[in-house]
Symmetry: C2
């Protein structure tokens, strides 16, 4: 019965038959909860309970072992204690099971012994061409096939599934249970949720591939602790985008504090968060800060029409609530629409011009209160040509049910996204249920309203940052011959940079004061003197750099000072001092590349010199980049106005600057896995060109 072909991921997330090892009627037991949930939620596939001590459970025929089934099931659920696990996986393999969902915990996440057992079951499964989910997972919840394959008690509480287009792939099982019940309470329609545990075999990207192909899925949420295969995630994210599916992600381990826990939690290495964020920006994965809000936002994106061009229109029943939302929208950089004259003309019947604000306070109407005023106000803002999304802030107000109906009606037109901010607690629960029944997006808090609006806008505007294809190699650019390993000196790095077409100041290495003066005479005053010593990084701190030397005497004096400093910093080193051309004033940048395992070379561009640590004004991209992409990076910096020229200063030579950044990124890319890090600091951007004034690199 052993399989010759592995089961496909499409079948893993839509199995037609399942075996439940340890099935029982007792809801207090693990195997009981699984069986009850499956039966209660009306799974239509074939169910094979396995229990040697029973003839039948819940009316289903029971089998003594997995070897005794009438067919090889697509999926077997395995939750046996660790000592019995390997034998059970072996039996499943023999029985021709397609995929084992392994709930058993205390595996690789718990130390060497667990890791060995985990490796063992992977090896066994491989022998039988069987796939594994987990271990240390909490199963699946698959509303699109009515399969509740999880022990989370939230399944019993929540009643029938809410069907929809949201799927979740979660590295945390408990979080899947928590997000399941929240989705149910907040009107989020689900296609599928999977918890993937330790990803010993099937991993996040496998499931992502499955949900991208799944016709029921429109929005995919990822809860990630560590990315196993960044390159594949990149490819799949672009595929999802091409297929018109939206990806949202929360990644734990953003900071060191989180990393510690994520690591011990599922033994996955939390990759550098900024490399992850860069990947997401380049593939239009929306990074969110909070799992609860991710599932809420996903549910809203699933059923709202896409946001078009324009800003946000806000209507409120209380000036106070509207004012606070407007303040926070402004702080978050969310665009408030300005009304067109046609809208103002419509409003004139009910609102004086000074009260025709955005937010529109319905309470500020003229004349006596009647419902038509509210309805007309809502319609006027919704229909405004500059309004791309309508938000209504509902506090206790007159005519609440009628107002709710008016909002449901504009929502049903499905012309623009409509969002309700409704935090009147249980007081307005009936109204909230009205909205949920009609599918109208509702959030309780301004925090979430901001997240919905900013995600909708980010998705609409994501085009520019996306990198669909690999960067094309510049014509004629030849990859460098691999230089030596270790920490390269500044002249070595500059030679590399020169070879890639990055301008560096003319420099003449000198061993004596006389040679230095001769070199300075040839280059032309003023000059710079720099001491070169193996292994010395912060040259300025040690007095190895002397600038603005405008005479032979100054060169001699500087030579003596630097020679002394070298003797101090690196005793016994032969004195080598470079005499360099002095480059004119400009804006100093840092251009660095690190090699993030799995993510490839990561290019960082930012404010350079002393400002690196002070301003932390940096942006990141996957290397290599084109000059155009380099310019996009520069435009994201706070110091961008300095490059454009402010206060009468000449602008930098942008073409040279972007070319230099692109070429540095190519150098890093060509160095490939040998690159540990590369840093040009400063790259001075002057009106006459961009010059690498200093550089360092470490190669393996």
């Amino acid at each position: 019965m052993t399989r010759t072909q592995p089961i496909g991921i499409d079948r893993v997330i839509a199995p037609q038959s399942i075996a439940l090892i340890g099935a029982t009627e007792d809801y207090a037991k693990f195997g009981g909860r699984f069986l009850h949930h499956i039966v209660d939620h009306g799974y239509k596939g074939r169910i094979f309970p396995i229990n040697p001590r029973r003839e039948s459970v819940l009316g289903l025929t029971c089998y003594p072992s997995i070897m005794d089934l009438p067919e090889a099931p697509d999926l077997a659920l395995v939750a046996v204690p660790a000592p019995k696990l390997a034998a059970m996986i072996e039996e499943c393999g023999k029985a021709g099971v397609g995929v084992c969902v392994v709930v058993t915990a205390k595996m690789a996440e718990f130390g060497a012994e667990g890791a060995a057992l985990e490796a063992e079951i992977v090896a066994i499964a491989k022998r039988y061409t069987m796939r594994l989910v987990g271990p240390n997972c909490m199963g699946f919840i698959l509303p699109s096939i009515n399969l509740a394959l999880s022990s989370t008690p939230t399944l019993r509480y929540s009643g029938p599934f809410r069907h929809g287009g949201v799927s979740l792939i979660s590295q945390s099982g408990a979080l899947m249970g928590s997000l399941y019940v929240q989705s149910h309470d907040h009107g989020v329609g689900l296609a599928g949720m999977v918890s993937i545990g330790n990803q010993a075999d099937l991993e996040l990207c496998d499931f992502l591939e499955g949900f991208i192909a799944d016709p029921a899925t429109k929005v995919i949420c990822l809860y990630i602790e560590g990315v196993k295969s960044p390159a594949r995630l990149r490819t799949l994210a672009l595929r999802a985008r091409a297929a018109g599916k939206t990806l949202l992600a929360v990644k734990a381990g953003r900071t060191d504090a989180g990393s510690t826990l994520a690591h011990s939690h599922t033994s996955s290495l939390a990759g550098s968060f900024s490399a992850f964020e860069t990947l997401c920006r380049e593939t239009s994965i929306q990074v969110m800060d909070d799992p609860d809000s991710m599932i809420l936002v996903a549910g809203i994106l699933d059923r709202a029409p896409a946001m078009g061009a324009g800003g946000i229109g806000v209507v409120c029943s209380s000036g106070g609530g509207g004012a606070v939302l407007a303040d926070r929208m402004d702080l978050a950089g969310l665009p408030v629409a300005s009304y067109a004259e046609v809208t103002r003309a419509r409003m004139d019947a009910d609102f004086q011009r000074p009260h025709q604000n955005n937010p529109l306070d319905l309470g500020a109407h003229t004349g006596d209160l009647e419902f038509g005023i509210f309805e007309r106000g809502i319609h006027a803002v919704h229909d405004d040509p500059g309004v791309a999304l309508l938000t209504y802030v509902l506090t206790p107000q007159p005519l609440m049910p009628q107002t709710a109906q008016a909002l449901i009606d504009v929502w049903k037109r499905q012309e623009k996204p409509v969002l309700m901010v409704l935090n009147t607690s249980r007081f307005a629960e009936d109204l909230r249920q009205m909205f949920l029944a009609a599918g109208v997006p509702v959030v309780a808090r301004i925090d979430d309203a901001l997240r919905v609006m900013s995600t909708a806008i980010a998705l609409r505007d994501a085009q520019t940052g996306i990198r669909e294809a690999a960067t094309e190699r510049p014509a004629g650019l030849v990859a460098t011959d691999a230089p030596r390993s270790g920490f390269l000196t500044e002249p070595e790095v500059k030679t590399l940079l020169s070879g890639y077409g990055v301008a560096v100041p003319h420099a003449t290495p000198c061993a004596t004061p006389d040679e230095a003066v001769k070199a300075a005479d040839a280059i032309g005053y003023p000059v710079v003197l720099k001491g070169v010593a193996d292994g010395v990084v912060h040259k300025s701190d040690l007095g190895l750099v002397q600038v603005g030397l405008d005479s032979a005497d100054a060169v001699r004096a500087a030579f003596a000072t630097i020679a002394g400093a070298i003797a101090n910093a690196a005793p016994g080193t032969a004195v080598r001092i470079d005499v360099q051309q002095m480059i004119g004033a400009g804006t100093e940048l840092i251009v660095g590349v690190t090699n993030e395992p799995g993510f490839g070379p990561q290019l960082v561009v930012g404010a350079g010199g002393l400002h690196v640590e002070l301003l932390k004004d940096v942006t990141q991209a996957s290397a290599p980049v084109t000059p155009l992409e380099a310019e996009a990076m520069l435009r994201r910096l706070r110091i961008w106005p300095l490059l454009e020229g402010v206060r009468g200063q000449a602008p930098a030579d942008l073409a040279s600057l972007c070319q230099a950044i692109s070429r540095i990124s190519w150098l890093a890319a060509d160095l490939g896995d040998r690159l540990v890090d590369l840093e040009v600091n400063p790259l001075r951007a002057t009106p006459q060109g961009a010059y690498a004034l200093d550089g360092r690199a470490t190669l393996d």
Copy 2:
């Protein structure tokens, strides 16, 4: 019956008798809702319904008019239409009413006609020594005397009051209704809530004074659109602090967008938000971004013990939830506690050392699951000497009720604040009610958990920023003679600065190139030349500044250039060019003062020169400041490390710098109301002293 003494604010927020004009039994009517709410909530004072068409309502004797009452009531509720308002206020005055709560809207917030009526009722009330609340308010909710004096339908929904120590003063009536029901649902115990409307007579500070004196009130929440009397707010905030009461505030109109609405909403001028924030920092008012969270946090502060020294300890039932919280705490700068060895030793029984993290994931225990593991883990973290606040993130988990009971037990010890993060939606509503019944603080979202933790820490650490007393005038500092009005030239400003002991470069005004060379010879090369022209602000942009001139020839050339530029910028102006001492390199700061109406002179210190707009690295204080306060301001800047000296650069002369900032602030304070603005940019902080290199000022 007319009063001779005004009613005290203590009696306004605790009236012993109330008259209800327009009282009826019909809940659909305004006067009916008021009466029902008052009766339902068990007000124990004397109630006088006024209605000429009834003998009695709800069993209470009805009176035909306010003039017919058997006594002068403390309070009368007035909600008559605008045309009848003035007459009704007159009647109340004649009847000896202490305070009228005026609900009638469309007053000053609605245009000139309303403003005139508002002024009229204020004048009438004054004649009768009667106070007014509103107009355009929504009444009071005063649980401490069981008085529900509001028409908000949330009062009927919510049932009996939840008594406690939280009070609210709100400029928005609808927001009071919304926050009332939220407080009820989230376990916030209330002393009193007042909506103050247009503040035509009694204003926010009057009520603040009342609640500071109110023994039932421990935490006071303010919802502010515009501050009428900043100086009084400052005094009262310090008084509240001395009385051990906590103040929280949300202010609408933080940005221009919000300001528009706040203005049209209650016709109050939204003062500059940064001046408000400065006042709050100097008096320990905690500024919050969201009214919903303000009431939640207030409820928690009301019943939690104060936070002591140490960090935050987090325990979670799911590694995922804990990792996300830890990430966001780190981003928010919240301190995570490190466990003491004694704590680790206690944990050793159940957790391997690599799993003894903060957050502690209870699921990562060794051995078989039993409740003692969870209980011991919670106690170990709670008792850790470095843990000052315990947060538990509860997701669906085993043994939920027992875990909840263990948490309730540690909370009951009242040794440290304990906070539950419980977002399992309605699934865990029974657990949430368990916590609320026991008074344990619960929030549903990480957003609010962060607000609770950061507010508790800010309150604990607020000591340093508080300014209890006015700054003492430096000995011997004589206030300046008032200079002329208008825009002062750079030399005029420097003369003022010099008079206050602020160092400025030596400068010699010259009219010809020969004079300039002579002056440069006397000062010593290199020198700076600066053109002086009335009304010219951005001198560098126009080429009026030439620096680093190291010879007579260079001075002559620069003179010609600047003379040409003056002729361009201000044709017909007499040429005046200052030859100045060139000040050594240093860090450039901006020191500016604006005069914010009501708030007094506001001192702004920040990164200067080109960086002003780029970095927006500024901090603000009320002028004048002492040199010590100036240093505290500098330490809040991102560029502070530059002043301390980084990368081998010499530190700035901090004593001179702080002295200069203090003296500039005194100059501004002495100029008083005549000051429009004053700006020194740059103030160059060098190792040899701080020099005002440029300055401007505008005086009335």
